[in-house]
Symmetry: D3
Subunit: 133 residues, 6 copies
């Protein structure tokens, strides 16, 4: 299995309003360094997994509505606990949809799976990996 992994980042505010989260219940924030890994069984005619420029563009477009935002105020997250795990899945869903609808180029349709990793500190990170098909 081949893999190509690229990186971008966002800085956001949010709260996790549930006693479960202790000191993180109130308004705070995070830098999320976001790695997206694209998996493919065989290479394309150009010997790549994916057009890396298209991959970076789709990642940037996916992150844009979140960048420099207070996630608590985004309608799409109303009533949701925007944990790192939840955000990894949110970003995965957007990039997997881009792969399926051709936004990643024709080759994007040949991807086997995608993994989105969010590094939240030097000591903790979360990821979601799933099939594209």
């Amino acid at each position: 299995m081949y893999c190509v992994e690229v990186r971008d980042r966002i800085m956001i505010a949010h709260s996790l309003p549930d006693a479960f989260f202790g000191p993180a219940q109130g308004m705070h924030g995070a830098t999320f360094v976001v790695d997206v890994a694209f998996f493919r069984e065989t290479l394309t005619a150009k010997n790549v997994v994916i057009d890396i420029g298209a991959a970076l563009d789709v990642l940037k477009q996916t992150l844009k509505p979140l960048a420099y935002q207070n996630l608590d105020e985004l309608p799409m997250f109303a009533g949701r606990l925007t944990t790192t795990e939840f955000l990894a899945k949110h970003i995965f869903d957007a990039i997997a949809a881009a792969a399926r609808d051709g936004s990643l180029g024709e080759d994007g349709r040949g991807l086997a799976s995608i993994r989105v990793t969010l590094h939240e500190t030097d000591l903790a990170r979360a990821s979601y990996e799933g099939s594209v098909i």
Copy 2:
């Protein structure tokens, strides 16, 4: 599949008394930076893989009997070659047991698998990944 990975570290002395290990046969030591990854098919009701505080506590408790020790003098390792691979499995076993016995909270019982990685230098690391169930 979701994953959350957290980090702690230990500094230990040990020897690897077998000609196979060449210069590492005698008493020497290592800093092991320890990453533990918890895998889960679905998120809990709190949108997490695991209570990250509980995970860090269990990791710290698991490492405590090893921290600042000479592993050659620990009865539990008598007659064992305490390679990095062996220690990764040792830590995995303790954390997997904690997941099964409820020490990681009720949600720990829903974990699919765990991976323990020990970084021994900037150029080498070892890991063990296994099912929790």
Copy 3:
């Protein structure tokens, strides 16, 4: 010159309400990985620059009022632009004061200077370095 450098981290929300900051004007947030370097011309009687445990405690105490906070709501920062540079100096001031007042132990009084570095993303960081005396 000797140096010892230790690391901790905080996750905060804030806004930078000035047109100068473009997309960072609104409420957003950051993970700051904080490195504090202690400089000393000669080692203490114990062959160290500083009691590393005391250094980590003072760093943790310094960061505690900021951790998981919305900096916009902290009285001490009212009317201030809490840039990464500004926060590096804020943390420096607290740790330098601890060095001078003995909170870092007697040896803290022998420090020459301190440098506080805040990593805000994988691509950007800010620091403040100053004399302790």
Copy 4:
């Protein structure tokens, strides 16, 4: 599953002569930091996945024909697009062959799979993982 991963590096020149690669069509170059991960279901009698010295030697021998080369001038790559993905597979093939032919020692024959990762910048990397058998 156990894993041991080791690191080496090469600095090469090459071109990617196809319009698909945009600015990378002309002669340019890269530092590839190369991580090779060896996977094994059970440890050997010495409690290791692989003789780490043998693994590093095989990796160095595999990289030697590429180190400080212009890949465009190597007969083995004539007419090939030497993308990072392609090179990951090229290195994988050589190391997997070494595992099968005994160059990694008798224990090399017990490996389950191998993963070769090439870091090309701080923001992008590619890998190939495959079965050894």
Copy 5:
């Protein structure tokens, strides 16, 4: 002293045609991860060392003529040994000039010094630090 440091990167080919450089005499290449640190005694009215957006733009403009190039073919480097140290100074000169001529904004004129670091592998890096004035 305050400092802000930002990162970009280039991938280039070149040769070092002198027996001194051994295996690096022929055409090969490198990824240079480039960190530029801006030093300033006091913060600007906006509590920053430099407009980080302007800094990143100037860095990108400075690197653009080098990105994806064969340095041996660039007239500006004719007859020069384009070592990592030499390139650090080349980039420093361009950014220091930008600071002096106002391309970094009015605040750029208040910088005390600049340091340019080029990481060429995970094991080696070079830098040049100098006064702006």
Copy 6:
């Protein structure tokens, strides 16, 4: 000022037999990732700070008597507290001597200063920087 920095590593055992060191009083160990930075005002005729091959050789020779050793048993350290700071200075002294006696080549005599940094964990490091002359 120009700088070139290179990296090597050692794995050692030692004890710090003084109540000051708490849990680190007994026999334990460490991986030290060692960075050595060479500073020079002007480049040599070959556009370098130092012959990087000679620098790596001298570093390896300096570390060899420590690698895979129990520092408590080395006569040169008898009665000394082998803290990370102390070891940074020990390595500095050896490399500075090599610079002065010509072991780093004729160019080594033109160095301004050297800095030796020992990373002991992902959270702590110590260094010593001094003049060569």
